[in-house]
Subunit: 210 residues, 2 copies
């Protein structure tokens, strides 16, 4: 008989007990620590702490955005499916248009990814919203570019975890250097992904008691 | 104006060109290399190569299972949503029952996770199928345990990427030490996740020309 931890409560407790022993967590602000904890829990990599960056106003501005009725705009469907709906405030919707026909035609017409074309089509609606990026560097690049051009609404918060070898590290470094008035959470470097992005959103939405 | 790579084709080419320069990929069998490449692409971490393990018959047995009409059984919904349906053979279905009421009641009754309770309820249907695990160590533990007890069908292939601090490293080490007659792909250690699992499935289903 294989010996392993079977009970959900025991797994949960042991996981968070192990993460809580990571010394560097103590350096984080009290309201940020649960967000970092959830991100580490999602990826199994304590050393992401070295590369995580948060704006000091992340939690306060996320709460304010939720209170003002903000929705969450996701770059990919797997992220939209990974957010725990029961944690979200009543009426908070999750949006992703990567598979929409008008996004595909806009992307083709302009030689851009569908992940970034969404930002063009969301346009002014992004003002004061929460944007969550778990895959595509081009979504983050396009958002910052259109903010600079005054052609898109400015999200209150951006949860930025694009991943990979082309643009992920560059787009997140640009965000951390100049967040353009947005509160943010991000992970510098090539690492990232929807699991970390959804963990951050779930933590911010109330998933972890502090 | 921000300078970044905008065109999907260019992003794709540069990503895979960068990954192809990873020397250790050359040591892999020709039919395994595209699978490893896709996994690295999904996570942005070339050093997962050190911890990836594949059975030599992975690709051949996956193809044979697909040819025999196998479905894919997923531990979590985000994995099910992440597999590219258009790559799958006609008639190949994706299953996940983690949110089913009978799974919840079975899990509660037996003090197990819903992710593992699914295995109990799938039972004999798993014979010759493809199982894909992107999150829950308990799904992998329960599968091996029930195979040892003769109480479940034996999948032809298991794509095993559970993640986290409790059971992930242990379950994958157990699989690699004794795959119990299954072809497999896995990543030793705490790292893993649905992005890597879906990348492996997509590569096996034909997502990367070799």
């Amino acid at each position: 008989m294989i010996d392993y931890v079977r009970a959900p409560d025991a797994i949960y407790e042991r996981s968070f007990a192990e993460i809580s022993r990571i010394g560097a967590l103590a350096a984080l602000a009290d309201d940020i620590r649960p967000v970092a904890t959830r991100i580490i829990h999602a990826c199994g990599m304590p050393d992401v702490l070295d590369d995580l960056r948060f704006s000091a106003d992340l939690v306060a501005r996320t709460r304010a955005a939720f209170d003002a009725g903000a929705d969450i705009y996701c770059d990919v469907e797997t992220l939209r499916h990974g957010v725990m709906r029961h944690l979200l405030p009543n009426g908070c919707a999750l949006h992703c248009r990567i598979s929409a026909p008008d996004v595909a035609s806009h992307a083709n017409e302009h030689g851009m990814t569908r992940a970034s074309a969404q930002v063009d089509l969301w346009g002014g609606r992004l003002d004061g919203q929460i944007m969550a990026i778990g895959n595509a560097p081009t979504t983050l690049f396009r958002l910052m570019e259109l903010i600079d051009q005054g052609k898109v609404g400015r999200p209150a918060v951006v949860i930025a975890f694009p991943v990979g070898f082309v643009g992920a590290a560059e787009s997140k470094a640009e965000l951390a250097a100049d967040p353009r008035g947005m509160a943010y959470a991000t992970l510098l470097g090539k690492r990232g992904g929807t699991a970390m992005a959804q963990a951050a959103v779930n933590a911010l939405a109330g998933g972890l008691a502090t």
